[in-house]
Amino acid sequence: MSRKVLVIDDEEAIIIVLRASLEATTDWQIITCSSATKGIEIAIAEHPDAVLLDVSMPKVDGTQVLKALQAEDSTQDIPVIFLTAKARDSEQKVLKALGVSGIIIKPFSPETIAALTKEILGWKD
């Protein structure tokens, strides 16, 4: 049974590229959403194996989505990987402290993003 991965990013262009990258390199089922609030609803409803979550989003940002997922019984065990353009060490330190599984910096390589995700999550297949 293939993995189910939810991508939440307000940038449509990023969603398109991520979907294409992951679909081209894995057999994962990719669910995408450009709204933070809708993304939380989808996570609860679909219970994906992992969430790739953009940090900088208007109104509700990625850190708030993470907290919402951690607070929800049905989603608190879902591993979350942040996608962010915040490349500075100080910024990453703050993000890691929130209890996220890993951080992938934009721009990422479309060929290796799947492998990077597997490595972070410890997925063998």
Binding site: A13, V17, A20, A24, E91, P107, S109, E111
Partner: protein, 622 residues
């Protein structure tokens, strides 16, 4: 006549005794007494008082002996040179006098011998009860002598003469012996004196010799002293010269120090750095004017007060005080630190300090002097810069990710370029690259504007030139959405950089068209503003009004800041970078104008900005 005297019947008594001697009362004066003695040719006067005789048991008064006044007493009284004439005779004659009892008058020679022995010439006779009976005198005794008595008297006198001769001889011999002894003694003493004199002479000679030696030594010493004195005077002169030179140097050095102190004080007073002096208890003993200006305190409100308790926020007090304690105890700690301080109004400033210890002449630490830079603004700028870099980083990396990812998927063959997904990726890459170009341009533009690298070129332009050009630029875009642009422009003469003003108006028009629904109207108007600019110049007021979705009131204040698009989808859908309004704000501000927005959510927004009108006195904008 004395009582009982005549009744004795004694022959000797009758011959010898004067029974009616001259008597005077004790109260009689001396002069009266002398007169009586002279009158009676008497050599004496018996002083007697009358008082009752106790044995007679009658009231008859009897004479009682008080004293005897003789010529001898008169001579003594005169010799005393006292004013005795009027004195009572009893006061002059007080001496106890010898008397003889009546019953003792038996032998004239014995009485005479007794008087001679007592060296008295008068002898009063009294009874046992003290009553005066009479008087015996040596003359009376001699006159009354019979032959037997005379022989006895002569024998007595011869015996007396012999005795006197013997006594005289003995006295002479004794005197001679005494004189000889005295002579011998004097001779001996004379010899002693001579020997003593010789010894004294020898001692004097020796002393003289010693004195001579001392004198010579003194002369030598004096000579040496003179030489020493001369040397000392030379030394003194040298010292005086040295002293003068030293004083000159001290004065010069003091003057230098005063000038240096003045320079330092002037520096401390005028430097745009905070300078605070603390004593060992942490109380302020110096605060420079810049600190007072920065915090709003007066010197009286600061001096003598605890720095840590009064001028630091509560959260800063403990660790800063611990730092201070370690510092004055000479511990090895950094000389630099930074902390917040409290101003009089209660706001805080962040100061970066450089501290030094102050020491007295014994090198003992007596306090600290700290020089601090107010880095509040710098830190705020750095924070803003950090945030800006973070935002720019995000804004750049997002389209870059889409471009890089999309193209890489196609070029690597993971996605076929002619597939629908391939075409979509190419489309995303193309749009993202356009967005990246716009973004980079806007960032550079804003950076140029904010760093004042782009100087405005103000000149006389008419508002119609600006509005007409802008409307022309958006004619096609407006028509594509059936949007009407209505212009009301009286053609005001402006003093502005035409290209920059055009940039502002096109930015606002671009937004208005993007956010207006199809078939809407956009109003562009220019009018002379009722309000003048800050500099008092007349201004033109531009308005761009749309019928778009409007802006939430809570976002109005931030809309002219960088990267503050209300909806991030706008940047994607409308092609905005989030920097357009920030650029407009900057250009208007450089013209000395203002830009603001009024908006009703769901009904539309109206953007306003002002620029100065042209006048003959208008000077070029800087």
């Amino acid at each position: 006549m004395l009582d009982d005297f005549t009744g004795t019947g004694d022959t000797l008594f009758e011959r010898v005794v004067i029974t009616s001697p001259l008597t005077v009362s004790p109260t009689a004066s001396v002069s009266e007494t002398i007169a009586k003695m002279h009158q009676t040719r008497s050599s004496y006067a018996i002083i007697a008082e009358r008082r009752p005789a106790p044995l007679l048991k009658t009231h008859e008064l009897k004479q009682h002996l008080v004293g005897l006044f003789t010529e001898h007493d008169l001579v003594r009284a005169i010799a005393s040179q006292q004013p005795f004439e009027e004195m009572a005779i009893a006061a002059v004659m007080k001496v106890q006098i010898p008397t003889i009892g009546k019953e003792d008058i038996t032998n004239a020679a014995a009485i005479f011998a007794r008087m001679r022995q007592q060296q008295i010439r008068h002898l009063p006779i009294i009874q046992t009860d003290g009553q005066l009976v009479g008087m015996i005198t040596q003359e009376g005794i001699l006159q009354a002598l019979n032959s037997e008595d005379s022989q006895q008297m002569v024998a007595l006198l011869q015996q007396e003469v012999m005795q006197l001769r013997t006594e005289n001889q003995m006295l002479l011999e004794a005197r001679n012996q005494e004189l000889e002894r005295e002579h011998l003694t004097l001779s001996s003493q004379l010899e002693d004196k001579q020997i003593e004199q010789q010894q004294t002479q020898a001692q004097l000679e020796e002393a003289y010799y010693e004195l001579e030696k001392s004198h010579n030594a003194l002369r030598k010493t004096n000579k040496e002293l003179n030489q020493t004195l001369q040397k000392l005077q030379g030394t003194k002169q040298t010292l005086q010269q040295t002293n003068t030179e030293l004083e000159r140097r001290v004065a010069h050095r003091t003057s230098d120090l005063l000038r240096a102190e003045g320079r330092w004080r002037s520096l401390l007073e005028e430097v745009h750095l905070v300078v605070i002096g603390l004593d060992l208890e942490g109380s302020v003993n110096y605060a420079n004017p810049f600190f007072l200006r920065l915090t709003g305190y007066s010197a009286e409100e600061v001096l003598g007060r605890s720095w840590f308790k009064n001028f630091l926020p509560y959260g800063e007090q403990n660790h800063t005080y611990q730092y201070f304690q370690a510092f004055i105890n000479g511990e090895e700690i950094p000389l630099h630190h930074q902390n917040e301080i409290l101003t009089r109004s209660g706001s805080t400033r962040i100061i970066a300090w450089h501290n030094v210890t102050l020491r007295d002449h014994n090198n003992t630490i007596i306090g600290t002097m700290s020089i601090g830079e107010d880095i509040t603004k710098r830190l705020a700028v750095e924070r803003m810069k950090g945030e800006f870099v973070s935002v720019v980083s995000h804004e750049l990396r997002t389209p870059l990710t889409a471009i890089h990812g999309g193209l890489h998927l196609i070029t690597s063959g993971l996605v076929a370029s002619n597939s629908s997904q391939g075409k979509e990726l190419l489309q995303v890459a193309a749009e993202s690259s356009q967005r990246l170009v716009r973004l980079v341009n806007d960032i550079l533009e804003l950076e140029r504007l904010e760093s004042d690298k782009t100087k405005l070129k103000p000149e006389k332009v008419t508002s119609q030139q600006i509005t007409a050009q802008a409307v022309r630029a958006f004619k096609v875009a407006a028509e594509a959405h059936n949007i009407t642009m209505q212009v009301s422009d009286p053609g005001l003469a402006l003093m502005a950089d035409g290209d920059r003003l055009m940039q502002v108006l096109t930015n606002l028009l671009d937004n208005a068209i993007k956010f207006s629904p199809d078939s809407a109207t956009i109003w562009i108007s220019v009018e002379q503003a009722s309000l003048s600019s800050k500099e008092g110049k007349s201004t033109a007021l531009f308005k761009v009004k749309d019928e778009g979705r409007g802006i939430p009131s809570e976002d109005l204040s931030a809309i002219f800041e960088r990267f503050t698009q209300i909806n991030y989808d706008d940047s994607r859908e409308k092609g905005g970078t989030g920097l357009g309004l920030a650029i407009c704000h900057n250009i208007v501000r450089q013209h000395g104008g203002k830009i603001w927005v009024e908006s009703v959510l769901g009904k539309g927004s109206c953007f306003y900005f002002t620029v100065p009108l042209f006048s003959t006195s208008t000077s070029p904008l800087s």
